[in-house]
């Protein structure tokens, strides 16, 4: 395992080790590029993961202070927890459910396809499906995505079987156990899925792909990657010429350190990445780094989500088995006749009893609530994930509140767009109809949880005035500053974002290494 000197200004510094940063770190290291990855969280491996919802939450979740505002219900029910994402080596790839689906071609061109939508700040990506296809191939191979290549699908759990029967009763055709970054057979030194449940709590078998035990150790084995965990970056530094020169971070002991860098890549997710750019404001960049467009922190998207849980007169035991191995894709198309633009996926989901109590109807109490939990054993569940509208008013600003290091924290503001609400209501109706078609006696349109898909706050754009980064994730303003996480999403698509984040990171690594060897950065 490499160690690099703080004064070594030849390294690429990557901030964050999740789907974006972790992959970028390994891909660069494989190409011989020296990388220092700074990770705010600690290092946990499958043996450390805890199959208990609240204990795992305490171990892995990002619990540093954040504040919220806006009309979303999360701001009322979970005001200090806008997102359910992870602070650990591996980032949210420890927690994600593994659903790995590509953007549909039209979703790269949301503005052109949907036309202007009132109140939405839609934009086309500067890349398209043809450009991304080979990178998706590489991403699917890296993650070992089921139903791609020659990898078989996962078997269907009880929760899936209920879901599938209801979907087919409604006439849905594109119904299967998902394209999942969870091994259906042993591969890449990782075991096959044991249907253990607790996918959200870190896979104790390592059957689910996570950078924590794939890309990170693979990168470290090259001798080109040093991961410093419990290292919280405070600000990115630059010289008078406007090039970034390094980062200041608080190390595990709370001491401020300065790591010099040739290139800095920000991959701290859609809250921490814009927060860091804003907290790095200087006399040369008074509005924050890479922010000449004013778009840093803007256009925050979280996918239009929600859940449907339903009770049957017989047991389902939805908690047994893979959490999200089940999908209906028929509604993912763009079909404005439904009353909204864009589309959504329906995916199986289950929560254990403790989290069901917290999330079924946050703040709910009395018999209307408890009689639902009384039939927990007879419940089935699904999750809605659809494209939401980027809005200029939604996003991350610096809060008056400070974190444990004295740094201003992210305030996350979100108001639903009417398109989001129309889509969610459509999805609730379809999800409930699926379960009623199988004999559900009661159904619950459950509100969105604290966000897991956080996108768009440093968006990619063709023109510098429309966004923060170009088609390589390179900031329009500063050539040696990159964004490598979901915050570079121009629009969100209907798909779980991790596969796209990984594909973009593999592609970005290729570009960065090429530009370095050409002496361009």
């Amino acid at each position: 395992m490499a160690t690099f000197d703080l004064n070594d200004d030849s390294v690429v510094v990557i901030i964050g080790t999740g789907a974006g940063g972790g992959v970028l770190a390994n891909e660069l290291a494989q190409k011989g590029v020296k990388v220092v990855a700074l990770e705010a969280g600690g290092r946990y491996l499958p043996a450390d993961y805890v199959n208990d919802e609240w204990d795992s939450f305490a171990q892995l979740a990002w619990l540093d202070t954040r504040t919220t505002s806006g009309d979303w219900r999360v701001a009322r029910d979970f005001s200090g927890l806008p997102a359910w994402i992870v602070k650990a080596v591996g980032g949210t790839t420890t927690h994600w459910a593994g659903a790995s689906i590509r953007f549909q071609d039209h979703e790269w061109k949301a503005l052109s396809t949907y036309g202007a939508v009132d109140g939405a700040n839609l934009l086309d990506w500067p890349i398209d499906g043809a450009e991304m296809a080979p990178w998706y191939d590489k991403a699917e191979a890296k993650l070992g995505v089921t139903r791609t290549g020659d990898r078989p699908g996962l078997p269907g759990s009880n929760n899936y079987k209920v879901f599938e029967k209801g979907a087919k009763a409604l006439g849905y055709k594109d119904v299967h156990t998902g394209r999942m970054a969870i091994n259906s057979v042993e591969a890449d030194g990782r075991m096959a899925c044991h249907q253990t449940g607790f996918c959200f709590q870190g896979c104790k078998w390592g059957a689910k792909w996570s950078t924590a035990y794939t890309d990170i150790p693979a990168g470290e084995a090259t001798g080109n990657l040093e991961v410093r965990d419990r290292s919280h970056v405070a600000r990115i530094l630059h010289n008078d010429a406007g090039k970034v020169t390094g980062v200041e971070y608080f190390d595990a002991q709370g001491n401020l350190q300065l790591q010099k860098a040739r290139i800095v890549a920000v991959a701290g997710n859609s809250f921490e990445s814009p927060r860091l750019l804003l907290n790095s404001a200087s006399s040369l960049f008074p509005d924050g780094l890479a922010n000449s467009s004013g778009m840093v922190g803007k256009n925050y998207m979280r996918h239009t989500t929600g859940s449907v849980y339903a009770i049957f007169d017989k047991p389902v035991r939805m908690w047994r088995g893979t959490t999200m191995a089940g999908i209906v894709q028929d509604e993912a198309r763009h079909d404005p006749s439904r009353g909204f633009v864009g589309g959504y996926e329906l995916e199986t989901l289950s929560l254990g009893l403790p989290f069901m109590a917290a999330f079924l109807n946050p703040g709910g109490w009395g018999r209307g609530f408890t009689t639902a939990l009384d039939h927990y054993e007879n419940m089935a569940g699904l999750w809605i994930v659809g494209e939401d509208m980027p809005q200029l008013g939604n996003g991350v600003t610096l809060s008056d509140a400070k974190d444990q290091h004295g740094l201003p924290v992210a305030n996350v503001h979100f108001d639903d767009h009417p398109n989001d609400i129309a889509m969610r209501n459509h999805a609730y109706k379809q999800g409930i109809a699926m379960y009623e078609a199988v004999g559900a006696t009661r159904a619950f349109p459950t509100p969105p949880y604290p966000s897991t898909h956080n996108l768009g706050t440093n968006r990619m754009s063709e023109r510098p005035e429309d966004g923060v980064v170009n088609k390589w994730g390179q900031s329009h303003d500063i050539a040696n500053l990159f964004v490598s996480d979901g915050s570079q999403f121009t629009t969100g698509g209907a798909e779980n974002p991790t596969l796209t984040i990984v594909a973009l990171a593999i592609r970005q690594a290729d570009h960065i290494a090429g530009e370095m060897s050409r002496g361009m950065i």
Binding site: P155, S157, K161, W205, R317, R320, L353, A357, A358, L373
Partner: protein, 172 residues
């Protein structure tokens, strides 16, 4: 057994065991189930206040199949010096709301629906929201309660559910 919810004064508590719901205040600082299945000692707040808290817990998250001892575990942390002011003021507020609705106090109301109306009158208060939010983890995260709801929890220790019924649904 007869539910006797009146006379929960300190004098009455000291003088005799008073049943409140399925709970009985059996003496100073001591609450026990009538069948002695469990008992709880309080040292900071009063037994009457703890009885009110337990009734409140049951009315907020009523599960008829869940015994009192789980609710007792969920609220016993409020018998603490740093919680005393919140609990005393909160129960006083609750009893005042009960009086405003024509009852002697909260805990002596016979029907759950009537107690719920009193809780609805105070549900915006910090006291109510603290108790409710605390119960979400305090009640449902007790592992011993999970089997009552059929929840099996972790399966890693037995090799996952792959050979333990992950796809055994037989009624579809």
């Amino acid at each position: 057994m007869k539910v006797e919810r009146t006379g929960l004064t300190r004098r009455a508590l000291l003088g005799r065991a008073v049943a409140a719901g399925a709970m009985a205040v059996t003496g100073a600082g001591f609450i026990a189930a009538p069948d002695a299945a469990w008992a709880m000692e309080v040292s900071v707040i009063s037994p009457a206040q703890m009885v009110s808290l337990m009734q409140m817990a049951r009315d907020i998250y009523p599960h008829d199949q869940v015994p009192d001892r789980f609710y007792a575990v969920a609220v016993k942390g409020y018998d603490a010096a740093d919680k005393k002011a919140l609990i005393e003021a909160g129960i006083a507020e609750l009893d005042a709301a009960a009086k405003a609705q024509g009852h002697a106090d909260y805990v002596s109301i016979g029907w759950e629906e009537d107690r719920v109306k009193v809780l609805q009158a105070v549900e915006k208060s910090v006291f109510f929201q603290t108790i409710r939010a605390g119960l979400v983890t305090g009640l449902y995260n007790q592992k011993d309660i999970w089997p009552i709801f059929g929840y099996e929890g972790e399966s890693f220790s037995q090799g996952g559910y792959i050979d333990h019924g992950f796809d055994d649904i037989d009624w579809l």
